[in-house]
Amino acid sequence: MKRQYDMLVIGGGPGGALAAKTVAEKGLSVCLVEKRPAIGTPVRCAEGIGKELLTDFLPPDPKWIATEIERAELVAPDDFSMLLEPKMAGSEVGYVLDRKVFDRELVWKAAEAGAETYVKARATAPIMKNGAVAGAVIEQHGQTYEVDAKVTIAADGIESKFSKWAGIDTTVPLREIETCAQYLMTGIDIDPQMTSFFLGNEVAPAGYVWIFPKGEGLANVGIGIGGGKSGAGHRAKDFLDRFVKRKFPQGRIIELIVGGVSVCKPLSCTVADNMLIVGDAARLSDPITGGGIYNAMYTGRLAAETAVTALEMGDTSKAALMPYDAEWRVSKMGKALERNYAVKEVFVKLSDEKLNAIVHSIAKIDLDEFSTLTLITELIKANPSLLLELKHLRSFL
């Protein structure tokens, strides 16, 4: 590890990897530190991503694609299900990834572009100079390094502490975190090309159960429930065990995954002097789906591009980095986050009767792409009364 870099990236998830790769490709010096010994493990993800979103970054590769998804179903509390299919039946709309391989590939690409990468290397404090971040203290293999950087990117995920240490409050409110548990299950009777989403206050209060196939008879079966609904005897794992017992009593569990997904509003500001915050660390996962892989990659790349421009200008102040914050907010992703936050606030309060009525209203929806916008628009068309509750949403639709 050197004493000084143009950029220091904290965290080797999709956000950090894209940031490091983008800067390295410009020929600048970049150091990426990841506190875990192996990139991408343990996995904390259901591994689903829309096709359009992924291909924005790299061509799909069978190495890290477990399954191609062709349709989805939304299952009501009373077990009635609505089918979501692309207009062209049989074409894939999304993928279930193998994130252990995917995340490693992204970091490998960053390394190949010239980034220095360090694993089991943890940032333990920012280096502050004149009230601004100027690098970080890194601990690796019992050694302590002081690493100076002109710009630091906090890509440290849901358990992000770096921004907090630098004085930015990133605390997720209890009712705005989804607390999750997931089993990778084998020997279960599923449609290997279809993702399923189960709604209901009995099944998953303020959340949902998902089945994301990874092959024949193999799937991520998981749940997220609202943090406010979690407690002794009714935790995410308790609900998951109940679901699995009812649906897949013969299935075998070959992996346990736990995690938290923020469904709050993004941080009110994602830059500071010499620092940018990306991905989950900036609380950028989707409030409805919980999806954050694309959002992390998109903001990681954008933050790096902004930083490169700032470095070239010789000014990495908060004002000079602000274009990053402004741009993601008006992007397709930023608008989706704002809209889906408002929709989520309505949906988490719906009774099971209401959820049943909504799912029953349409038997099948044709989708161009797997977007929550199409789904919401169709649901509102079939349930005009929803518009009353979503009045303030009209401007988004």
Binding site: I158, K161, K164, T171, L174, I177, T179, C180, A181, V258
Partner: protein
């Protein structure tokens, strides 16, 4: 006092993100709590596995 059941913890970091005091930290697969903990119990609620308990002294 916060008791961390490391035999139950799945080191996911959900608790770290909701702690208002920043008292928790995940060192790879090893969750730690420091003296700034105020025993508010928020982390105890959120844990998907039930690895945390606030112990009344």
């Amino acid at each position: 006092m916060l008791n961390i059941r490391r035999d139950i913890c799945g080191y996911c970091g959900a608790c770290v993100s909701v702690c208002p005091e920043g008292a928790l930290e995940l060192v790879d697969a090893y969750l730690t709590v420091d003296h700034t903990c105020i025993n508010c119990g928020i982390c105890e609620k959120v844990c998907p596995l039930g690895a945390l308990e606030v112990v009344k002294e």
